[in-house]
C-alpha cells in the first residue's frame, strides 16, 4: 500500500510542473527501437538531441508535435505544463516548429505568413496587421510585411519563420536542425535570437541537431542517440 501511494505521488508530482515532460517516450521502426527518452525540460530551457542522420532523431519531434509517420511506432507520454497531450491531434498541441528550410507559405506576403499564425479571435484585421508588423519588428524585419517571401535572403526567411512561430502562442518549440542551412556568421546570430526568444517567452525547447556548436549554444542537457 505504502509503495503504491508513493508511486501515485511520484506520478502526480509532474502534473503540476511547468515545462515539457517526456515520460518514457520510445520510438521504434519495424520493431527496432530508435530512441527512448525520459526527460523534463523547464520553461526557457533547451534539450538537445544529437545523433547521426538516419538515427531517428527527427521522429522524436514528430512524436511530440503529433505528426509521426504511421510507419513508426511511438509510445510514452508527453506532458506540457502538467497537461497530457499525447493523444491530442497535432493542431491542438501548439508546437512551434522550425525546420532546416524556412518553409514560408509562398502564396502569402511576409506579413500574411505571420498574420496566418496569429491565434484566431485576436482583434480585427487592423489589429492583426499591427501585431504581425510588431512581430516582424521583433526579429529585426521592420517594414518587410509587404514583401514576397521568395525575394528574401536565407537569413531573413529564417527570421520570418521564427516570428511566425512565436506569434502563434506556442507551448513549446521543436527545432529540427534549423541553423544548418545558414552560413557560419548568420548561424550564430540566429542561434542567439532563437534561444533568447525562447527564454523570454518561457518556452521549453527540443533541439535536434548533429552540430556540436548548436548544442553548446543551447547550453542545456544533451542526449545522444544512435551511432
Amino acid at each position: 500500500m505504502a509503495a503504491l501511494s508513493r508511486a501515485a505521488r511520484l506520478t502526480a508530482k509532474p502534473m503540476s510542473e511547468k515545462g515539457l515532460i517526456l515520460d518514457r517516450v520510445t520510438i521504434a521502426l519495424g520493431g527496432r527501437q530508435l530512441l527512448s527518452i525520459t526527460h523534463a525540460i523547464a520553461p526557457g530551457e533547451v534539450l538537445t538531441v544529437m545523433g547521426p542522420s538516419g538515427s531517428g532523431k527527427s521522429t522524436l519531434l514528430a512524436y511530440v508535435g503529433g505528426f509521426l509517420d504511421p510507419a513508426f511506432e511511438g509510445s510514452g507520454a508527453v506532458r506540457v505544463d502538467g497537461r497530457d497531450i499525447t493523444l491530442l491531434p497535432a493542431e491542438a498541441r501548439h508546437a512551434g516548429l522550425l525546420f532546416q528550410d524556412a518553409l514560408l507559405f509562398p502564396h502569402m506576403s511576409v506579413r500574411g505568413n505571420v498574420a496566418f499564425a496569429l491565434p484566431p479571435g485576436i482583434g480585427g484585421r487592423a489589429t492583426r496587421r499591427a501585431l504581425a508588423e510588431e512581430a516582424l519588428a521583433g526579429v529585426g524585419l521592420e517594414g518587410f510585411g509587404e514583401r514576397d517571401p521568395d525575394t528574401l535572403s536565407g537569413g531573413q526567411k529564417a527570421r520570418v519563420a521564427l516570428a511566425r512561430t512565436l506569434v502563434s502562442a506556442p507551448c513549446m518549440l521543436l527545432l529540427d536542425e534549423p541553423f544548418s542551412r545558414l552560413d557560419a556568421e548568420l548561424r550564430q546570430q540566429m542561434r542567439e535570437l532563437v534561444f533568447a526568444k525562447a527564454k523570454a517567452s518561457g518556452l521549453p525547447v527540443i533541439l535536434v541537431t548533429h552540430d556540436e556548436a548548436d548544442a553548446q549554444a543551447a547550453g542545456g542537457a544533451v542526449i545522444r542517440i544512435g551511432a
Binding site: 508535435g65 497535432a90 516548429l97 518553409l103 502564396h107 496566418f116
Partner: protein, 559 residues
C-alpha cells in the same frame, strides 16, 4: 468526412461502371437479355460471329494495327529519349510536342486525312509540278485496306502521350548520373541510354504502354475516319451492329464485344512476349560489350521521327483550319482562291446545341474528377498510405479494358434504368475516362508537396481542413488547374461513350464531327474539327493564365 470518402468513391466511380458494364455485355453475349426475349443462356451469338463476312480479317486488322502502332510509338519515344535527353534540342522538341497531347484523336485523324488524301495538302503541294496530276489520282490512301493510315494516325497521337509519361519517369531515374556512368564506360549515347536508363523508365511507364495498346486495338473514332472499310476493324463493326435498327443484332454486338476483349487481351499477351524478346536481345548485346560509339544516324533517326510526327499533326490541324475558311479551292491549287467565313456562319447556328452539351459534360465531369482526385489524395496524405501498384492498376483499368466491351453493357443498364441519354448518365460515362487522367496528372505534384508545411500549419493550431484549404490547395493551384485542363480535353475527345450513352439525343462536337466523316464535306468537317481542337487549347490557356494572374505577386509560384 468528405476526405475520408475519397478512396471508396474513386474506386466506385472507376471500377463500378466497368464491372457493371462488363456484366451487361457478357450476359447478352451468351443470349441472356430478357428485355429482348433472351431468357436462357446459349452460344448462338458466338456461332453467328464466325459467319459474319470478313470477320477474321477485321480481327487481324485490329490486332495488327494495334501492335504496329504501339511498337512504332514506343520505339520512336525510346530512340528520341536515348539520343537527345538532357540536350537543348530535347527541351525545344518537348515544348513543341506537349500541346499535341490535348488535341482530340478525331481532330488529329481528320488533319492527317486532309494531308494524305489523294486530293490532300501533300498531293496539292507537289502537283502538278512533280506528279503531273491535274486531277486527284485514284489511289486509296486514306481508308487503305491494310490500315496503314489508321496506324499512322494512332502513332502521331500516341507519341506525345508516351513522351510525356516517360518524361515524368525520366526525372525520377536520375538520368544525368546514369548517362555519365555509361559514358565513362565508353558507351555511345544511344546505347548507353537504352542499356542503362530505359529499362528503369519502361518499368514505370509500362501501364501507359498497355493503355496505348488496348486503345489502339479497340479504337472507334480514328478507325472510322482513317481505317479500312471493307472490312472495317472489329471495333467499328461492333458499333455498327450495336446501332442496327434490328434489335436482335445486340446479341451479336455483345458477342463481338467479348471477342474484342479477347483480341485486346491477346494483343497484350503478344506484347509481353515482345517485351521479353526485346529484353533478351538487349542482354545478349550487352554481354558482347559492343560500345556503339558511332550512333549519329540513330540519333538523327530519333529526332527525325519525333519531329516528323509533330509536324504531321500541326500541318494537319493547319489544313483543317484552312478548309474551314476556304472558298473555291480546286485541285491542285495549294491554297484556296478566296477565304470566306460562309461555312462558319452556316454551321454556327447548328453547332450551338452540340457545343453546349460538350462544354456542360466536360465541365461537370472535370469538376467531379478533380474533387474526387483531391479527396483521394488528401486521404492518402492523412493515412500515409500511398496506393501502390494495386491502386495504380485500378486507375488504369478504364484505359486497359476496350471501351466497347463495357460501354455496351453500361448503355444497356442505363436503358433498363431509364437513365440513358440523360446528362447525368453522360457525365458518369465521361468520368470513367476523365478521372484516370486527372488523377495521373495530379498525383505526382501532390505527392511532391513538402509535408512539413502540414506539420507547421498543425503547429500553428490550424485544423487539417484549414491547412488543406489555406496552404496546400493554393500552393498547388497550377497543377490542379493543369489536371483539370487535361480532364477537360479528355472529355472533349470522348467519342464512343458519348455515342452510346447519349444515344444520338445529346450530340457533342466530337460525335457530330465523326458522323460527318463519311459525308466528306471538308469545309464543315474543318469547322467541327477546328472547334474540337480549340476547346482543349482554351482549357490549357486558362490553366496557365489563372495562376499567373492570381499569384503575380509571388515569385515562387510564377514558375
Amino acid at each position: 468526412m468528405l476526405i475520408r470518402l475519397g478512396p471508396p468513391v474513386a474506386i466506385l466511380l472507376l471500377a463500378g461502371p466497368i464491372l457493371a458494364g462488363l456484366a451487361g455485355t457478357v450476359l447478352p453475349a451468351f443470349g441472356y437479355l430478357p428485355a429482348l426475349g433472351g431468357t436462357s443462356f446459349s452460344l448462338d451469338a458466338f456461332r453467328q460471329l464466325p459467319a459474319e463476312p470478313g470477320i477474321g480479317r477485321s480481327v487481324m486488322l485490329s490486332l495488327g494495327v494495334g501492335l504496329v502502332a504501339t511498337l512504332v510509338s514506343v520505339s520512336v519515344v525510346a530512340l528520341f529519349l536515348a539520343g537527345w535527353s538532357g540536350t537543348r534540342t530535347f527541351a525545344r522538341v518537348q515544348h513543341l510536342i506537349s500541346p499535341l497531347l490535348s488535341v482530340p484523336h478525331a481532330a488529329a485523324a481528320f488533319g492527317l486525312a486532309f494531308l494524305i488524301a489523294p486530293s490532300g495538302m501533300i498531293a496539292r503541294l507537289v502537283s502538278p509540278a512533280l506528279t503531273g496530276w491535274e486531277q486527284p489520282p485514284d489511289l486509296q490512301i486514306v481508308n487503305d485496306p491494310l490500315g496503314l493510315s489508321l496506324a499512322a494516325g494512332l502513332i502521331v497521337k500516341e507519341i506525345p502521350f508516351l513522351l510525356l509519361v516517360s518524361l515524368a519517369a525520366l526525372q525520377q531515374a536520375s538520368p544525368a548520373s546514369r548517362a555519365a556512368l555509361v559514358a565513362s564506360l565508353g558507351y555511345g549515347r544511344v546505347a548507353g541510354f537504352l542499356f542503362g536508363t530505359w529499362p528503369a523508365i519502361y518499368r514505370q511507364v509500362r501501364l501507359a504502354v498497355f493503355a496505348v495498346l488496348a486503345f489502339s486495338t479497340s479504337v472507334v473514332d480514328v478507325a472510322a475516319i482513317l481505317g479500312p472499310t471493307s472490312p472495317a476493324t472489329l471495333s467499328v463493326r461492333l458499333v455498327g451492329w450495336m446501332g442496327d435498327p434490328d434489335l436482335s443484332m445486340r446479341f451479336l454486338a455483345s458477342a463481338g464485344a467479348v471477342l474484342q476483349l479477347g483480341v485486346t487481351a491477346l494483343a497484350l499477351a503478344i506484347w509481353v512476349g515482345v517485351e521479353r524478346a526485346a529484353a533478351m536481345s538487349r542482354d545478349m548485346v550487352c554481354e558482347m560489350g559492343t560500345r556503339f560509339r558511332r550512333d549519329g544516324a540513330a540519333r538523327m533517326a530519333g529526332l527525325g521521327a519525333m519531329s516528323f510526327a509533330a509536324t504531321v499533326v500541326f500541318a494537319g490541324l493547319a489544313t483543317l483550319a484552312l478548309w474551314s475558311a476556304a472558298g473555291l479551292w480546286q485541285f491542285p491549287e495549294a491554297l484556296p482562291r478566296e477565304f470566306t467565313l460562309r461555312t462558319w456562319t452556316n454551321v454556327l447556328p447548328r453547332i450551338g446545341g452540340p457545343l453546349g452539351v460538350t462544354l456542360a459534360v466536360a465541365a461537370a465531369a472535370t469538376t467531379i474528377a478533380v474533387a474526387v482526385a483531391i479527396f483521394y489524395l488528401a486521404r492518402e496524405s492523412e493515412t500515409g498510405r500511398a496506393g501502390g501498384r494495386g491502386a495504380l492498376a485500378l486507375i488504369y483499368l478504364p484505359l486497359l479494358v476496350p471501351q466497347a466491351s463495357f460501354l455496351f453493357g453500361l448503355q444497356l443498364l442505363f436503358l433498363l434504368a431509364g437513365f440513358n441519354a440523360s446528362l447525368p448518365a453522360l457525365v458518369l460515362a465521361h468520368l470513367v475516362f476523365v478521372l484516370p487522367y486527372v488523377f495521373l496528372s495530379l498525383s505526382d505534384p501532390w505527392r511532391a508537396y513538402d509535408r512539413r508545411y502540414d506539420a507547421i500549419a498543425a503547429g500553428l493550431g490550424k485544423s487539417r481542413l484549414r491547412a488543406l484549404l489555406s496552404i496546400r490547395l493554393p500552393i498547388l493551384t497550377r497543377p490542379i488547374l493543369v489536371a483539370a485542363a487535361v480532364g477537360f480535353a479528355v472529355s472533349i475527345g470522348q467519342y464512343l461513350p458519348t455515342l452510346l450513352i447519349a444515344g444520338g439525343r445529346l450530340p457533342t462536337i466530337t460525335t457530330e464531327a465523326v458522323a460527318l466523316a463519311s459525308g466528306g464535306n471538308r469545309r464543315v468537317i474543318g469547322v467541327y474539327a477546328f472547334l474540337q481542337m480549340l476547346l482543349p487549347v482554351i482549357g490549357f490557356a486558362i490553366a496557365t493564365l489563372v495562376p499567373a494572374l492570381l499569384w503575380r505577386r509571388f515569385r515562387a509560384l510564377r514558375v
